[in-house]
C-alpha cells in the first residue's frame, strides 16, 4: 500500500466498528483505554484454549519438548520484527518483570547513581527506589519533566542534570539511565535515539522502557542500540496479558539473571531465560496468533489508522471541550494515545481525582479513560485503536463535558 492508500480516521478501510466483531467486547462497552491493559482478538483467545488443550493432552511432551520450539519461534519472529539478534531476546511476563530482571541483576556499588525522569512509570521508579534501599550509597537522580516540552528542551533538561552531577565531583557516577520511549501518563513520544546517545556520551548505560512501543510505533533496535529494552506485547501487539519481550545486549548478558532463578542458572542467557518456571505459557504463545492477525492488514496500515485516529480524535475532543491536547499541534509526539485537557475550573476540586472519575465513568457510562494532573492542567488519556472511529471520540468528549460541568457547578 502506498501512503495515500493507508487507512486513516477519515478513510478507515478495514478498521473501525466493523472490527468490534473480531474482539470480545460486550454490546454496550467501548474500550477507550487500550493503553492500560490491552486487549486481544477472539482468534487469540481461541488459540490460548488450543494451546492449553494441547498441553493437557501430554504435559510432559509439551513442557519438555514442544513448548521450547514455540518459544524459540516467537523470538525468531520478534527478532525480525524489531531488527535485532534473536540471542539478545528473552520472553518475560510484563514490563515490571523485565525492569526488575535488569535492575536486580546489575551489580550496583556505592557511589552509583540511577537517572530517571519524573514522568517515568511509577512501578519503574518504585523499583529504582527499592534498589537504592537495598544498596549502600546508591541514589536516584530524578529529572523533573513537565510536558509540553520540545525534544530539544527535553534533551537539554537531561543534559543539565548530567552536567550538574559531573560538577559535584563527589566520586559518584551515573551508572544507568532509564528512559521512556512512550511515557504512560502523560503519554508522549520521547526523542529516544538522542536520549540513548546523550546518556552513552556521559558513560551511562541506558535502559529504554518501551512498554508501549511494539505494535504502536516501528521498533528498530539495530538503529536505537540501547543496552536494555523492554516492551509489552500485550499492550499494542494484541497478544494476551502476561507476554512481554526483554532485550539485553550481548555485552551485558553475563550479568543478567531472571528474577526467579531456575535450574538453568549460569547456563548462558538464552538457556537461563528459556523457562520461567511452571506457568501457563499460552499467554506468551499467543504472540504468534497476534502477529498472524496483524499480518492480515500489515503494520503500516494499523499504525497509520490508529495514529491518525488519535490525532483527529484528540482535535475533535479538544474542540468539544473547549480545551487543547497536551502536545498541541506536535503530531510527532503522539502515537495512538492522546492527552486531552479537561475544562475543570478548580484543579483542587476534591472530586477531581482519578478514583472518583473512575467510579462515575464506569458506573454511569460503562467506559473509562485515566485522568491525571500534569503541569497546570487536568488531562485524560485516550487510546485510539482499530476498533474505534471518530464518532467514538466525539461521544467520549460529550461525556467528559457532562462530567466536568457537573463538577464545575458544584465547586
Amino acid at each position: 500500500m502506498t501512503n495515500a492508500e493507508l487507512p486513516t480516521a477519515a478513510n478507515p478501510g478495514p478498521f473501525g466498528h466493523k472490527q468490534r466483531k473480531n474482539f470480545l467486547f460486550p454490546e454496550n462497552y467501548t474500550q477507550f483505554n487500550h493503553g492500560s491493559y490491552g486487549t486481544f482478538p477472539k482468534v487469540v483467545q481461541d488459540d490460548i484454549r488450543a494451546f492449553q488443550d494441547r498441553c493437557e493432552q501430554n504435559p510432559d511432551r509439551w513442557n519438555r519438548c514442544d513448548l521450547f520450539t514455540y518459544m524459540d519461534d516467537i523470538r525468531t519472529q520478534l527478532a525480525e520484527f524489531i531488527n535485532c539478534d534473536k540471542a539478545e531476546l528473552a520472553l518475560v511476563n510484563n514490563t515490571t518483570a523485565g525492569v526488575n530482571t535488569v535492575l536486580r541483576s546489575l551489580p550496583f556499588v556505592p557511589g552509583d547513581r540511577i537517572l530517571v525522569l519524573s514522568t517515568g512509570f511509577i512501578a519503574v521508579n518504585q523499583t529504582v527506589r527499592y534498589i537504592c534501599d537495598a544498596h549502600e550509597d546508591v541514589k536516584v537522580i530524578e529529572v523533573p519533566v513537565t510536558f509540553p516540552l520540545s525534544d530539544k528542551d527535553l534533551l537539554n533538561k537531561v543534559e543539565e542534570a548530567l552536567k550538574a552531577h559531573q560538577e559535584l565531583k563527589d566520586g559518584s557516577r551515573i551508572k544507568l539511565g532509564i528512559v521512556d520511549w512512550i511515557s504512560s501518563v502523560p503519554s508522549v513520544i520521547h526523542p529516544v535515539k538522542e536520549l540513548v546517545e546523550l546518556l552513552h556520551s556521559y558513560g551511562a548505560l541506558v535502559y529504554v522502557d518501551g512498554a508501549h512501543t511494539i505494535g504502536q510505533v516501528p521498533v528498530d533496535l539495530g538503529y536505537l542500540r540501547p543496552d536494555f529494552y523492554i516492551t509489552n506485547c500485550h499492550k499494542w501487539l494484541f497478544s494476551a496479558r502476561g507476554s512481554a519481550l526483554l532485550y539485553v545486549a550481548k555485552r551485558h548478558q553475563h550479568l543478567i539473571h531472571p528474577i526467579s532463578i531456575t535450574g538453568d542458572y549460569n547456563s548462558g542467557f538464552e538457556k537461563e531465560f528459556s523457562f520461567l518456571g511452571t506457568q501457563d505459557y499460552s499467554s506468551i504463545l499467543s504472540i504468534l496468533t497476534a502477529l498472524k492477525f496483524r499480518k492480515q492488514y500489515g503494520e503500516d496500515a494499523i499504525i497509520s489508522y490508529t495514529h491518525s485516529l488519535a490525532i483527529e480524535g484528540g482535535k475533535a475532543m479538544a474542540k468539544i471541550l473547549g480545551t487543547h491536547t497536551l502536545t498541541r499541534d506536535d503530531d510527532d509526539k503522539v502515537a495512538n494515545m492522546v492527552n486531552v485537557a479537561l475544562p475543570i475550573k478548580d484543579l483542587k476540586h476534591p472530586k477531581a481525582n482519578n478514583a472518583d472519575f473512575m467510579k462515575i465513568m464506569l458506573d454511569k457510562y460503562n467506559l473509562y479513560t485515566p485522568a491525571f494532573i500534569h503541569g497546570d492542567h487536568l488531562y485524560t488519556r485516550v487510546s485510539a485503536q482499530i476498533y474505534l472511529e471518530l464518532e467514538d471520540f466525539v461521544r467520549l468528549a460529550n461525556i467528559w463535558k457532562e462530567v466536568i460541568e457537573g463538577l464545575n457547578a458544584s465547586s
Partner: protein, 429 residues
Amino acid sequence: MSSLTAHSQGSAATHDTLSSALPTPAQPGPFGHKQRKNFFMPEGKTEFNHGSYGTFTRSVQENMMKWHNRVEENPDRWTRLDLKPALIKVRTQLAEFMNCDKDELALVQNTTIGVNTILRSLDFIPGDRILQLSTLYDAVDKTTRYICDTHKDVEIIEVPIVMPLTDHEIVFQVEKMIQDHLAKKDGSRIRLAMIDWISSVPAVLHPIKALVDMLKSYGILVFVDAAHVIGQVPIDLTYLNPDFLITNCHKWLYSVRGSAVLFVPKRFQSSIHPTSIQVAYKTGGFENEFSWSGTLDYSTILSIEGALEFRKQYGEDAIIHYCHRLAVEGGAKMAEILGTNVLTPHEHQVGNMVNVRLPIKNINDPKLQTPDYLIRLLLDKYNLFTPSFKHGGYFWTRVSAQIYLELSDFEHLGRVWKEVIDELNAENA
C-alpha cells in the same frame, strides 16, 4: 488411612474411623478410569507423571475461562476494582484449607517464584549459612547458590541424604550437621534452612513437623518447600508453624498452571518484597504489594476456586486416601514385575508418588546420562512418561498416582519399563 494421618506429621488430624469407607485401588468408588473423561487425556494416553506439571479438569478450565472472559467485559473495572477482592476470596478459601490467617498468604505463580521471593528479600550478612538437604529441587539449589554468589561470605551447608532412611534417621542426620557446625565455633551461623516437605526426585514424604521443631530449637529460620503438598497430604500451618512455606496449587490441587501460594507470617512481612517490585512498594503493605504482579492473566490463579469446587464433590480424605493407597500398592506391583523394590522403607514416607528401582545392569550406560534418550523412547514408542534418576547408586523411576489411574495402569507401566530395561541390559551384555 491410619498410617497416613499418623505419620504425615504436617497435620494434627486424628485417626479416621470411617477409613474403611474411603476409596482404595480394590474399591475405587468414584475414582479410576471413569475419571478420565473429566480430564483432557486422549484415548491411549495415560498420565503417570502428574507430579511434574499437574493437570486440571475440564470444569477447572471452564472456571478459568469464566474469569478470562470477565476481564474482557471491562478490563479497567476488572483490574482496578474487581481483581483484588477476587484474589482475597481465593486466599480466604486457602486459609481455611490450610488453617492459617488469610493475611499471611500471598498468591504467586509457582514455587520457584515463591522461593526467590523469600531468599532475595532476606538480608543475608557475611557469616550466614543456608542449610539444605542434598535431595532439594534443582531450581531451589540454584537459587541458594545464586544467593551465595551475590553475597559476601554466605555459604551452603548441605546435608547428604541417601535413601532409604527412616524418619528418625533423616532428623538425626540434619541435627548432626547442625551440631557439627556449632562445634566449629567459626563465627558463622546457620541463618535459614530450606527443607522439602515432599521432595521431588526422589519423592519422599519427610518428617516435617519433627524437622521444623528441631531446626527452630536451634534458632534457625525454616522455609518449607511444600511444592508438592497441597492436595497430596493434609496441611495445617497452625500446627506446623514454619517461618515460610510455599506450595503449588497446580500440582496436586487441580488448578491451572501458574497458581501457587506463599505463607509469610506477619512478623516477617515488612521485609519481604515480591520478585517484581510494584507500585505498592513501601506504601501499600504486604497484602497490596502481593496483590498485583503487573499485568498478567490472573485467571490461572483464580482457577483455584474451580479446583476446590471439583474436589469438594469427593472430599479431601477420599482423594488423598485413594491416591496414597494406589501409590503404595501400584509401587509394590511394579517392583514385583521388575524384580526390584521401592525406595522408601515405610509407607508413610510416600504420598502419591512412589519411586521404583529399575533393574539396569550398567548404571553408566551412556544412554542414561542425559534424560533425552528415555524421554523420546517413552513418549514416542509407548506414549507415556515417568521421570528416572540416579540415587544411592541405583536407577529409579518416579510414578504419580492419581484419581484417574487404577492398579492395572501400574501393571502396564511395570511391563513397559521391564521391556525398556531388558533392551538396555541386552545392549550392554
